[in-house]
């Protein structure tokens, strides 16, 4: 209560605070539109493709195919996101590979999402009853055709809620890209706060903007779930 009170005072009682709030909106939203949202969308899409590939590799009968997938998932899940980001941006140049901040962020976030989402997709595939594979086989399908035509469409429905979770986490995690100089939403906030010393106001403003983005995304999630649920009685 005390905190909230102080916050309200900062924003409303002092009209200068309100002005600052309004003036900061544009740079932050610009950062969001130019970097936060594209970074999220690109990394999520690339991550999903990577995840699907990894999940299918992990379900393979061959150990040789499974092993790299298992190692990749283990390495990504066992190390902090921030460290991965730093390795790509600050580490690779010492191997003479220099990548700009934004592409660095895309690479690191895609790899990260790929590992986490692959576990979700793998579990979803495993949740589809064995009889569905067999029904596919009996109409003449190979393993790959049954996977593509019968199993994955059903697994997709199962995986939407957990994948949405990953997606929304990703939106917020992109704020880490501020530490490798990507001028996304939070980096803009930091810049303004450093100039005005109005930390509380600016960071709460950034938090609200993230919240709005995530809220809109959760509406989209519900729409997708409804669409994919059309063939099941609920």
């Amino acid at each position: 209560m005390y905190l909230l009170n102080n916050l309200l005072m900062t924003i409303t009682a002092d009209m200068g605070g309100w002005e600052l709030f309004k003036n900061s909106l544009l740079p932050m939203i610009t950062g969001g539109i130019k970097y936060t949202i594209p970074l999220t969308l690109i990394a999520f899409t690339a991550g999903l493709i990577l995840a699907l590939l990894t999940a299918v590799m992990r379900l393979s009968g061959s150990r040789l195919v499974r092993a790299p997938a298992i190692a990749y998932v283990s390495a990504i899940r066992g190390t902090p996101m921030l460290v991965q980001l730093f390795i790509v941006f600050y580490g690779l140049p010492s191997l003479n590979v220099t990548i700009d901040p934004f592409p660095s962020a895309i690479i690191a976030f895609s790899l990260n999402v790929g590992a986490y989402a692959s576990e979700i997709i793998r579990a979803s595939i495993l949740s589809i009853p064995k009889g569905q594979w067999e029904a596919g086989y009996t109409v003449g399908m190979t393993h790959n055709t049954a996977l593509r035509r019968i199993i994955l469409p059903q697994a997709a429905r199962v995986s939407i809620p957990p994948l949405s979770n990953t997606f929304i986490s990703l939106v917020k995690d992109t704020s880490l890209a501020s530490l490798i100089l990507v001028t996304e939403l939070f980096r803009r906030a930091q810049e303004i706060a450093a100039r005005t010393y109005d930390f509380m106001l600016i960071y709460v403003e950034a938090a609200i903007l993230y919240w709005v983005i995530c809220f809109l995304l959760s509406l989209a999630q519900e729409a997708i779930e409804r669409r994919l649920a059309r063939y099941t009685a609920r």
């Binding site: 029904a135 003449g140 059309r230």
Partner: protein, 248 residues
């Protein structure tokens, strides 16, 4: 002889489910397999569709396809074996994300790459035949168990198999829905389909079969015409089984 099976055996690890099965099947005839659960009857059926890989034994088909399971079997031969038969499952296993019609057209269009309009017409004919023409655009969850199983039969027929396999097709159904499914299977028998049916419906087996096989413990205990096996069985185990089913 459409198919003759010699010395078929199947083990899951240590557990021998089928021990030494000899049975043959004539074109246009109906073979019913009865027996207690765990007797191996479903496994036998699944071996015919390559859903299980037999451990030993030989399948010889009329058209010259011979599979000796002690030797390595090529991928093509597995596929040839599988494509000989259509399978109807106890729990239907319809594709829940596809309509009744799409369930039927999936195999012919996607796997067999047949002409779409032709397949569409054929699928409608098949669904009409099983009495579901007016339901063809519904999803499986909108259909009753009996209707789902009839879609399952149409789906199996659509790939134009030489042999139809039924794995306890009515065991998951409410009693009042059993008749509609058995009716469809009887029609197929009258049309001259070659069929193998695993069932607990003895009365139905008697009406529809040319031959009945009683299995227990991985062996065929007794086989013969339905009147003989079901009405005056020679083997003690067959008598006991029938006794238990008829007078529970």
């Amino acid at each position: 002889m459409f198919l003759s099976i010699k010395g078929l055996a199947k083990a899951f690890g240590e557990l021998e489910v089928l021990k030494d099965i000899d049975v043959s099947l004539e074109k246009g005839k109906v073979l019913s397999i009865i027996g207690p659960s765990g007797s191996g009857k479903t496994t036998l059926l699944r071996c015919l569709n390559a859903l299980e890989q037999p451990s030993r034994g030989v399948f010889s088909f009329e058209d010259g396809l011979v599979l000796d399971f002690e030797k390595k079997i090529s991928k093509q031969d597995w596929l040839r074996l599988r494509r000989k038969s259509g399978m109807v499952f106890q729990s239907y296993n319809l594709f829940p994300h596809k309509t009744a019609l799409e369930n039927v057209t999936e195999g012919p269009i996607i796997v067999q790459k047949r002409d779409k309009t032709e397949v569409q017409e054929m699928a409608e004919r098949l669904l009409d035949k099983v009495g579901l023409k007016d339901k063809m655009h519904l999803y499986p969850h909108q259909l009753s168990g009996g209707q789902q199983q009839r879609v399952g039969i149409a789906r199996a027929l659509a790939i134009e198999p030489e042999l139809m396999l039924f794995d306890e097709p009515t065991s998951a159904l409410d009693p009042e829905l059993i008749g509609e499914v058995l009716g469809v299977i009887k029609d197929l028998a009258n049309e001259g389909w070659t069929m193998v049916i695993v069932t607990h419906e003895l009365h139905f087996a008697e009406q529809v079969s040319d031959e009945v096989v009683f299995m227990d413990g991985g062996y065929i205990v007794e086989k013969g015409v339905p009147e003989k096996v079901l009405k005056s069985p020679q083997e003690k185990r067959t008598q006991q089984f029938l006794q238990r089913i008829l007078n529970p």
